[in-house]
């Protein structure tokens, strides 16, 4: 499992490095039809109406990256609040039962905030090209080579952000906040390893909260009061001692 994951980490950026976020920013996605595993027919924009969405695409038959990636998303986004995770199959060979089986396999068929569905072949083509989602059928393996990308879509169907491959969970949380529609004035970069961090990532809420580094700033004023108290106490104790003969 680990070997596969680390393999993905190297492969994914190499394969899809040509994708340029700037080109996709604020591009509107087509309103393609989607069949949900509950059997309902919906359009993609309908799914976005109530809340922002983190969208990922997969194939039920994928032998490569899809399983570890869905596992990774499950681990990091188990029960999203204020936004939804939408996982759609782009594979024309998939039937609704395949998609439902995948959802069950990951234990996410009934998870709150998760929506599983199947794209129709024509809709899939148009959506994939808008998203810049590279898919190539490899007949020797009878499998697709494809991107692993997570898209943040706002309620109007615009692409706000895209994140490729298995990134640091902190970046994922940042996407989640973006999806909630927050303007986050500033965000820490997760990779730097420092002694005392000012912010720590809260895995539950996906937000950064103040940490030991900032708490350290309380030490100086406390020290001031403590010192004044100590000097006062020391002087009082000396005063109460009987004078030396």
């Amino acid at each position: 499992m680990l070997a596969r994951l680390s393999g993905c980490l190297i492969v994914a950026p190499l394969l899809w490095a040509q994708l340029n976020e700037g080109h996709y920013y604020l591009r509107s996605v087509p309103d393609v039809p989607v069949t949900l595993i509950t059997g309902e027919q919906r359009s993609l924009h309908h799914l976005l109406q109530s809340r922002a969405v983190l969208l990922t695409l997969f194939s039920s038959r994928c032998q490569g990256l899809c399983s570890p990636y869905l596992l990774y998303l499950k681990r990091e986004l188990a029960s999203p609040r204020e936004f939804a995770v939408v996982a759609l199959s782009f594979d024309p060979r998939d039937r609704l039962t395949d998609v439902a089986a995948t959802a069950h396999r990951f234990g996410l068929a009934k998870a709150s905030g998760w929506t599983w569905g199947l794209l129709h072949p024509t809709g899939a083509m148009s959506l994939l090209s808008t998203l810049g989602y590279a898919v190539r059928y490899d007949s020797s393996r009878a499998d697709y080579d494809h991107s692993i990308v997570l898209f943040v879509l706002d309620r109007r169907g615009n692409i706000l952000r895209r994140m490729e491959g298995f990134q640091d969970p902190a970046l994922l949380k940042d996407l989640a906040r973006e999806a909630r529609g927050e303007f986050v004035l500033s965000y820490p970069l997760p990779s730097t390893d420092v002694a005392l961090r000012c912010f720590e990532l809260d895995k539950e809420t996906g937000s950064w909260r103040l940490s030991m580094g900032m708490a350290l700033l309380l030490v100086p004023p406390i020290a001031s009061f403590a010192l004044a108290g100590l000097v006062q106490l020391a002087l009082a104790l000396r005063r109460t001692q009987p004078p030396q003969p």
């Binding site: 340029n20 976020e21 700037g22 080109h23 920013y25 604020l26 706002d154 615009n158 706000l160 303007f183 986050v184 004035l185 500033s186 965000y187 820490p188 970069l189 730097t192 420092v194």
Partner: protein, 182 residues
């Protein structure tokens, strides 16, 4: 407040202060009984009003969330490093991406909100936007380990200069980037 208003307020205020001191200094040459004690209450009330009004007027005008409700038309990633800025529409995460972005020309839309995501690969830098007529219109600091987001709407076309505004070493004065707004 534009810089010229601030300077005007400052010079007017300074004149009033200097005037009061000059007047009191003049009275000191003719000793006479008298006390300013009755004025004390009024001066304190006046000061309280001054502080209250100014705070009420300015505290809600924080520049941080000016365009928080709007979606920016463009997002520009900015990485600062001794002694150049790299501006790019795609994220800059590696040294190679930084080097590639250095030569890029960036053009920004007039009258639309754009967002700068500013960070640093080495020390603290400042990222100040100078308008074509050489005035600072907005700024943000670039701090290693953090990305600061500055949203701004350019209302004047022309060539802008991003100038480093935090002392960052011997060549700090020449740390600049240029971009065009049209």
């Amino acid at each position: 407040m534009p810089q010229s208003t601030i300077l005007l307020l400052f010079f007017l205020g300074s004149l009033v202060i200097a005037g009061v001191f000059w007047w009191v200094w003049r009275t000191s040459r003719q000793p006479a009984p008298g006390s300013v004690e009755p004025l004390r209450r009024w001066i304190f009330v006046g000061l309280l009003l001054f502080v209250g009004i100014f705070t009420a007027l300015t505290l809600w005008r924080m520049p941080y969330f000016l365009y928080a409700e709007e979606l920016p038309e463009r997002v520009i990633h900015v990485v600062s490093r001794q002694f150049a800025f790299a501006l790019s529409e795609r994220p800059i995460e590696t040294d190679a991406e930084y080097a590639a972005a250095l030569g890029q020309t960036v053009e920004l839309p007039l009258g639309k909100v754009v967002e700068f995501r500013v960070t640093s690969f080495d020390v603290n830098h400042g990222f100040a936007l100078y308008s074509p007529d050489g005035r600072i219109v907005a700024q943000v600091q670039a701090m290693p380990g953090y990305v600061n987001r500055l949203r701004w709407r350019f209302d004047q076309p022309g060539e802008y200069v991003a100038q480093c505004l935090e002392y960052c070493g011997a060549a700090h004065a020449n740390m600049q980037a240029r971009f065009v707004v049209r």
